[in-house]
């Protein structure tokens, strides 16, 4: 069977979801943000909720997320996406509301908003991309930076005594009564992408039942910030990030 016989509409297995716009993403080659965007968009498409979804864009690398999702989006001040998501969800309770944030946004400047939104148990979905670094501003140390990890502001590696410990914000949020689903995923292999998509689907489904905050952390790479090729950064992620940030569900309430 030749190529022309296979490439027919009835044989289509996978195509780019129309819930993403045609704009070419500005992310660096190999960045996990692109995959995470696509998974959120695919879940919205599969659930048929494109007209009833409102996304909250953060500040950070994904500040321009509103250019890529074909749903209504609102830009938040730095770190304030959970506060804005709270407002949107309370005004439009039958809409699906998600916030999309990186670690510098969610776990540093926005820690207060994050913790209180989770503690109040707002009925929203939070997507959290953790790459252990401030990607947009030039690879500075973030709260989630690993011990001994080199960044532009910790060139000899993060020394815990003077720079503090890396923050496991996801484990912290799982302690709060307002969260109903807290999980950590990754998107660098096909199997993990499929698993991550199921987790995001669950996080959106929970909004139908008013269960509280569904929180999905995605451990991602930052190949330009880590100064590696995309495939080397994925290997580094597996060897260094995952032992400290183990994958799996942290809290699933019934």
């Amino acid at each position: 069977m030749n190529r022309e016989d296979i490439i027919k509409p009835e044989n289509l297995v996978y195509r780019r979801t129309p819930v993403l716009t045609e704009n070419i993403m500005h992310y660096c080659p190999g960045c996990g943000h692109g995959t995470a965007h696509r998974l959120v968009a695919e879940v919205i498409e599969e659930m048929g909720i494109q007209e009833k979804t409102i996304g909250i864009a953060p500040v950070g690398c994904s500040v321009l997320a509103y250019n890529y999702f074909e749903v209504d989006m609102q830009e938040a001040a730095h770190g304030r996406a959970p506060a804005l998501a709270t407002a949107v969800k309370r005004l439009k309770p039958d809409f699906f509301v998600f916030s999309y944030q990186g670690d510098g946004d969610l776990a540093a400047i926005g820690t207060g908003e994050t913790i209180h939104a989770c503690n109040r148990g707002e009925n929203i979905t939070m997507i959290f991309i953790n790459n252990g670094i401030y990607g947009m501003t030039g690879g500075q140390m973030a709260p989630t930076t690993l011990e001994d990890m080199k960044t532009s502001t910790s060139p000899y590696g993060r020394e815990v005594q003077s720079m503090g410990n890396p923050l496991k914000i996801t484990e912290l949020l799982a302690q709060l009564p307002g969260t109903c689903y807290v999980t950590r995923q990754a998107v660098y292999t096909p199997a993990l992408v499929r698993k991550c998509k199921r987790a995001i689907r669950q996080a959106f489904e929970n909004q139908k039942e008013n269960k509280g905050v569904s929180f999905v952390e995605i451990v991602s790479n930052c190949n330009s910030g880590w100064k590696m090729t995309p495939t080397a950064s994925n290997q580094w992620l597996e060897d260094n990030m995952l032992p400290f940030y183990p994958l799996g569900d942290i809290k699933v309430s019934k």
Binding site: M1, D5, E10, L20, P230
Partner: protein, 70 residues
């Protein structure tokens, strides 16, 4: 013979190569040529594709469309 086929959106590809280890049959590789943005884009180098879509689901930029004969 091939059961599957992929179509690559060359201008959207950034040549990150994340899809290459995801392919079970070593069907894809980066081209020597570059696209308009200067990236070595992805190309098909043989017809062993089984249409598993592994390459497409790890692609951060969604450049790959996958077909599989029934």
């Amino acid at each position: 013979m091939a059961k599957g086929a992929i179509v690559i959106d060359i201008e959207r590809c950034k040549g990150c190569g994340v899809c290459i280890p995801a392919c079970p049959n070593k069907v894809i590789a980066l081209a020597k040529k570059v696209n308009k943005k200067g990236y070595n884009y992805l190309e098909v180098q043989n017809d062993n594709c089984i249409g598993c879509a592994n390459c497409a689901i790890v692609c951060p930029d969604g450049v790959i469309t996958v077909y599989r004969a029934k």
